[in-house]
């Protein structure tokens, strides 16, 4: 579904991504993990069509991405800035549906359905700023769900919530994936990348490139306690952890200040 070929991107003073090649199939839930500043977010922005990569190309269903593709939704880390404070929760969720047409009543009904799916049906008439951070991020997720995108991109979606909320939201992602969309989740949290993903892509230090592409051998039904004590989970998080830290692997980027 999504094909990333030889993608590189540099900003005026530094290289953010270099020679990234990936293929992602329909319905996959892929975690992209890497140290901070490795270009994870840049890669996501390239896929979203917000940034045009300096090199290589990205295509969605065989069509090169030159602008924001249709059928795409992004959940940003900064929920408080991504939601519109002058609209109620329901109207925030209903707004993107304008792109899909349909009557106002139908859009609002779809919004309420999506809010129900994330457990916020009774917050529909509140304003985003009246909700806690975790609830606001649920609203962002509901907004993406209501839109029913083929591809859902999440950029550090749980980076600004507390640990308990984070676990709840991870499980929410596992639930919503059953709707059949392809999900790309960018995170710097190693445990999260393993717990949520079917596949973990590890990006190395800047300029980011794919260091490893690992299949997660965990059962589809997961829960925060038992999944995390499975030998496969423990093993995998250690492996990803070593890769992210950049030791215990054949590829060695060398000391950072050598050149």
């Amino acid at each position: 579904m999504l094909l990333i070929e030889k993608v590189g991107h540099y900003y005026s003073d530094h290289m953010a991504l270099e020679d990234v090649n990936l293929e992602i199939a329909q319905g996959e839930l892929v975690s992209i993990v890497g140290p901070s500043g490795c270009g994870k977010s840049t890669l996501l922005r390239c896929i979203a069509g917000l940034v045009r990569p300096s090199q290589g190309q990205i295509s969605l269903n065989g069509k090169e991405i030159t602008d924001v593709p249709d059928n795409l939704a992004v959940v940003f880390q900064d929920y408080s800035r991504s939601l519109l404070p002058w609209l109620t929760v329901r109207d925030n969720v209903a707004l993107p549906l304008r792109r899909r047409g349909g009557s106002k009543a139908a859009r609002r009904a779809a919004a309420v359905d999506a809010l129900e799916a994330v457990g916020l049906a009774n917050a529909a008439h509140k304003y985003p700023w009246q909700l806690s951070g975790g609830m606001q991020q649920r609203v962002s997720i509901a907004r993406a769900l209501a839109y029913q995108p083929a591809l859902l991109l999440m950029d550090e979606p749980f980076g600004s919530v507390d640990a308990q909320t984070r676990e709840d939201l991870e499980d929410l992602v596992l639930r919503v994936r059953k709707r059949g969309m392809t999900i790309l989740l960018v995170t710097h949290d190693i445990d999260e990348s393993v717990y949520v993903g079917d596949r973990v892509i590890v990006l190395g230090r800047a300029p980011g490139r794919v260091v490893a592409d690992l299949a997660v051998g965990l059962p589809t039904a997961r829960d925060q306690i038992t999944t995390r004590e499975l030998p496969e989970f423990v093993h995998m998080r250690a492996e990803v952890g070593r890769l992210v830290r950049g030791n215990g692997q054949t590829f060695n980027p060398g000391p950072p200040f050598s050149s």
């Binding site: 979203a48 917000l50 924001v68 707004l95 700023w129």
Partner: protein, 269 residues
């Protein structure tokens, strides 16, 4: 317990009113004493009670009502044109970088010209009356509206704009759905500032042009009448009251419309 709540330490609503009223009472008492004791010449500086009584009396005077209405009309017309023109122009300058760079030098040249200095010029071209008055009001009131729109747009959160873009909204739709509402509180403040400037221009134009209708005309003509100081000051009280009412109404409207803005900027810890 109450220490945790900073609001509890502030004066209550009636308390603030009471303090404001006390300040006003002291001022009135002071002018009263100055005027009645003969420290200042009573005919050139009448006591507050005389001025206020005259101001109240003017409210029932049909001639003065015509003047008041005429000023309000010119003010409203000028302000409306400034808003209807200033907001879209601001959106264009703030939203389309090419237009912004092209117009900036012209704006930077025009802006420092005090609008009052243009009264003789515009009066010469358009003659005395509502056309001159409104033209000058438009010119003066345009700046706060225009600049607050431009700065409001610069302050719009890029994440909010990108969110809508990723949902496939085009530039114009993002402008309409995100940038304009996000900038609206700034624009409203600009309009409130413009409303005050517009009133200043309305009254000054009237005073300087010297004939026609308006509070400024009343004040200018009162100068040469009997009881001149009392009439001039009573007219001034009306101009001030008008400004006060306009400001209060607009502040109230802003609070009501932009509850989200106050909640967001004040509610963040």
């Amino acid at each position: 317990m109450t220490e945790h709540n900073p609001r509890a330490r502030r004066l209550s609503r009636s308390g603030r009113w009471l303090r404001g009223a006390a300040g006003l009472a002291i001022l009135i008492a002071a002018t009263e004493i100055l005027g009645r004791s003969g420290i200042v010449d009573r005919s050139s500086f009448p006591p507050a009670s005389d001025i206020l009584a005259r101001a109240v009396g003017l409210a029932g005077d049909p001639d003065f009502q015509t003047n008041l209405l005429s000023t309000i009309k010119a003010w409203a017309l000028g302000l409306a044109i400034a808003v209807v023109g200033g907001v879209p122009l601001g959106l264009l300058i703030g939203g389309v970088p090419a237009v912004g760079t092209a117009l900036r030098p012209i704006l930077e040249f025009l802006r420092p010209i005090p609008s009052v200095a243009l009264i003789p010029l515009v009066g010469l071209i358009l003659g005395a009356g509502i056309r001159t008055e409104s033209t000058l009001i438009v010119y003066a009131a345009l700046w706060p509206v225009l600049y607050n729109t431009i700065y409001g747009l610069q302050d719009v959160d890029p994440v909010a704009k990108e969110t809508l873009r990723t949902f496939g909204f085009g530039r114009l739709a993002v402008m309409w759905r995100v940038s304009l509402p996000a900038a609206a509180p700034f624009i409203a403040t600009g309009i409130r500032l413009a409303a005050a400037v517009a009133l200043i221009l309305a009254v000054s134009t009237e005073i300087l042009s010297g004939f026609g209708e308006g509070i400024g005309i009343f004040i200018a003509q009162a100068q040469s009448g009997i009881d001149s100081a009392k009439d001039v000051l009573a007219g001034t009280v009306w101009a001030g009251a008008l400004g006060l009412i306009i400001n209060a109404v607009l502040v109230k409207a802003e609070r009501r419309l932009f509850r989200w803005h106050a909640a967001q900027s004040g509610g963040r810890s």
